[in-house]
């Protein structure tokens, strides 16, 4: 692997983190039509880390991956504009993409890793829509590779990566042999913005600019021989219980009195 790592980064398209989601009245899911979507924030961090690895001459090739509705190509274009070399989308019809489980995505990623001779997979630690925190670990298990989850610092040491992980109560450091799967946490880096010339390079073949359009391959599940056997059936999606509206108090004394009344202030000594 002296020539540099071949890196695969996952780029999920999710409802933008700032959007207040609405549950469908028929309880089948959340409203996605006409709602702003963007790249999962953790995946942006993964893309950024891959690019920084190339800038340090550690990565030789960066392949961005998305699986889902055709609109997922938008997040891949963002990844390309940020600096990924090429992209692959596995297109799935919208209704079916709702039923994709981390297990399915990991199965697909496994095939791509093998086909593309990938050395390092960088994924977000979780997607902010289903909050599953699973795909990276499942992929590592399927490949029989080591995993380093919740990474906040990654350095290369020979044929291994030294990864600082954010855990409850502090941090831990592990050394994983390459090839490996690493899932990234918020504090790993600050993702860059895609610049306009770079966005142009992704969107158009601009011979006059001397830029070559970056390749974005669109594939189907059947191209990889992956079938979606459901392991989970979604029965319903509902709003969480609503809180009773609160009151505003105008002094500290009233606040403390109210809390004592409620019995939530520990009465000690």
């Amino acid at each position: 692997m002296s020539a540099g790592l071949r890196v695969l980064v996952g780029c999920k398209r999710v409802i933008d983190y700032a959007v207040k989601i609405r549950v469908r009245p028929d309880a089948t899911g959340v409203v996605t039509e006409g709602v702003k979507h963007s790249m999962n924030p953790f995946d942006e961090i993964a893309v950024e880390e891959a690019i920084r690895m190339r800038e340090k001459q550690l990565a030789a090739d960066i392949l961005a991956f998305n699986c889902g509705s055709p609109k997922g190509q938008d997040v891949l274009r963002v990844a390309l504009a940020m600096g990924a070399d090429r992209a692959i989308q596995v297109e799935v019809d919208d209704p079916i993409s709702q039923k994709l489980e981390p297990l399915h995505v990991a199965e697909l990623l496994e095939k791509i890793v093998k086909e593309e001779k990938i050395d390092l997979v960088l994924l977000g630690k979780q997607a902010i829509d289903n909050d599953a925190v699973q795909t990276g670990q499942i992929l590592a298990a399927r490949l029989g590779w080591p995993q380093a989850t919740y990474a906040s610092k990654i350095t290369k040491d020979g044929n291994s990566l030294i990864v600082v992980r954010e855990i409850d109560g502090g941090s831990s450091t592990v050394k994983v042999k390459l090839p490996a799967v690493v899932t990234v946490d918020l504090r790993l880096n600050q993702p860059r913005y895609a610049t306009l010339p770079n966005i142009m390079k992704v969107r158009f073949v601009e011979k006059s600019l001397g830029a070559k359009k970056k390749p974005l391959n669109v594939k189907k599940l059947s191209d990889f021989g992956v079938e979606l056997t459901p392991h989970i059936e979604i029965l319903k999606v509902e709003d969480p219980p609503v809180r009773v509206p609160g009151i505003k108090v105008d002094s500290v004394e009233t606040l403390v009195a109210k809390l004592k009344e409620k019995g939530v202030l520990p009465s000690k000594k």
């Binding site: 981390p102 297990l103 699973q134 995993q147 409850d168 592990v174 504090r187 029965l235």
Partner: protein
């Protein structure tokens, strides 16, 4: 909690009692059980008999402690140096081996960074879809979990024969000490290197761990939590919150803004990507109340917001 009326419910209940058995993976620091495990055991008790697996090094005190907990019928202990600092690659084959020995229908662990790290790896080896952050167990195969930072709750049915769950601690009461009876302890061997499709143990090497010291109660287990946000302006000003917290015997939390600004270490972060808390009283000081922060504390019984912006979302 099975809500099927009449005869069928008794039938299902008795079936559960006879066939349901779960394996709880005990989270510990080699001398004490982590509190989240007590919540995991009480969740697992809803699924039938509970066996516990303690994997670690010089961890017999942990196993002893677990035998005294209500609902636990058996404790397996694997005491090996390689398990001293639990890495997923080494726990996974052990959990698989214990599941297969016991024929457990459910593998359950608390939804901490520990549980969420290795459980999907276990599930993958069993070719089942793991279910993360369960907040309600409706039957042996039907569960509820929050999605979209807690802004929706999904009810789902697992179609797999073996179910791997991480459970949200705050959604289940902790189990208590049993009245007298203790569960038997059984020494459980580490599976051989070639067993279970072999997880080559040299793939990963544990280097170090750094824990932030605190004398205050654990954030996830405290009955009162005082949290500060960007409005605290500096790390020094958190001293005010520490003083208040000490008066209330409270834990101190923070918003992502406070962590990113370097006021406090990141394991104090409450929210979608930090810790989930549900204390009796949550006091949010200088926190606007972004969706991602609310995800970590909106199940608190009473929430007090101290903020000079009357339009801050936290007031809603």
């Amino acid at each position: 909690m099975i809500r099927v009326p009449g005869v069928r419910s008794r039938l299902i209940l008795s079936t559960l009692r006879r066939f349901g058995s779960s394996l709880v993976i005990v989270e510990h620091n080699n001398s004490n059980v982590e509190p989240i495990t007590l919540h995991a055991i009480s969740a697992a008790s809803k699924l039938g008999s509970v066996s516990c697996l303690v994997g670690g090094f010089r961890c017999s005190a942990v196993a002893e402690e677990v035998t005294k907990l209500a609902g636990v019928t058996k404790v397996l202990i694997t005491d090996e140096q390689c398990l001293e600092n639990s890495v997923a690659e080494k726990i996974t084959p052990l959990v698989l081996s214990a599941q297969s020995k016991l024929g457990a229908s459910h593998i359950v662990v608390g939804s901490s960074t520990f549980g969420r790290d290795f459980l999907p790896r276990v599930a993958a080896k069993l070719n089942t879809s793991p279910i993360n952050d369960v907040i309600a167990i409706l039957s042996e195969d039907t569960f509820q979990r929050p999605i979209y930072a807690g802004n929706a709750v999904v009810t789902l049915k697992s179609l797999d024969p073996i179910r791997c769950l991480t459970v949200r601690g705050t959604a289940f009461p902790p189990t208590t000490l049993s009245d007298g009876a203790t569960a038997p302890i059984e020494s459980f061997p580490l599976p051989g290197a070639d067993a279970l499709g072999s997880e080559a143990s040299d793939l990963v090497e544990f280097v170090s761990v750094e824990k932030h010291k605190s004398d205050r109660p654990e954030l996830t287990d405290a009955s009162v939590v005082v949290s500060g946000g960007r409005g605290m302006k500096s790390g020094e000003n958190f001293e005010l919150l520490y003083q208040l917290a000490d008066k209330l015997n409270a834990a101190v939390g923070a918003s992502r803004a406070a962590v990113d600004a370097g006021f406090v270490p990141n394991d104090m972060q409450v929210g979608q990507t930090g810790k989930i808390v549900a204390p009796k009283l949550y006091i949010a000081v200088g926190i606007s109340g972004a969706i991602q922060h609310l995800a970590g504390m909106k199940d608190s019984k009473v929430i007090v917001a101290i903020n000079k912006d009357p339009d801050a979302p936290i007031f809603q």
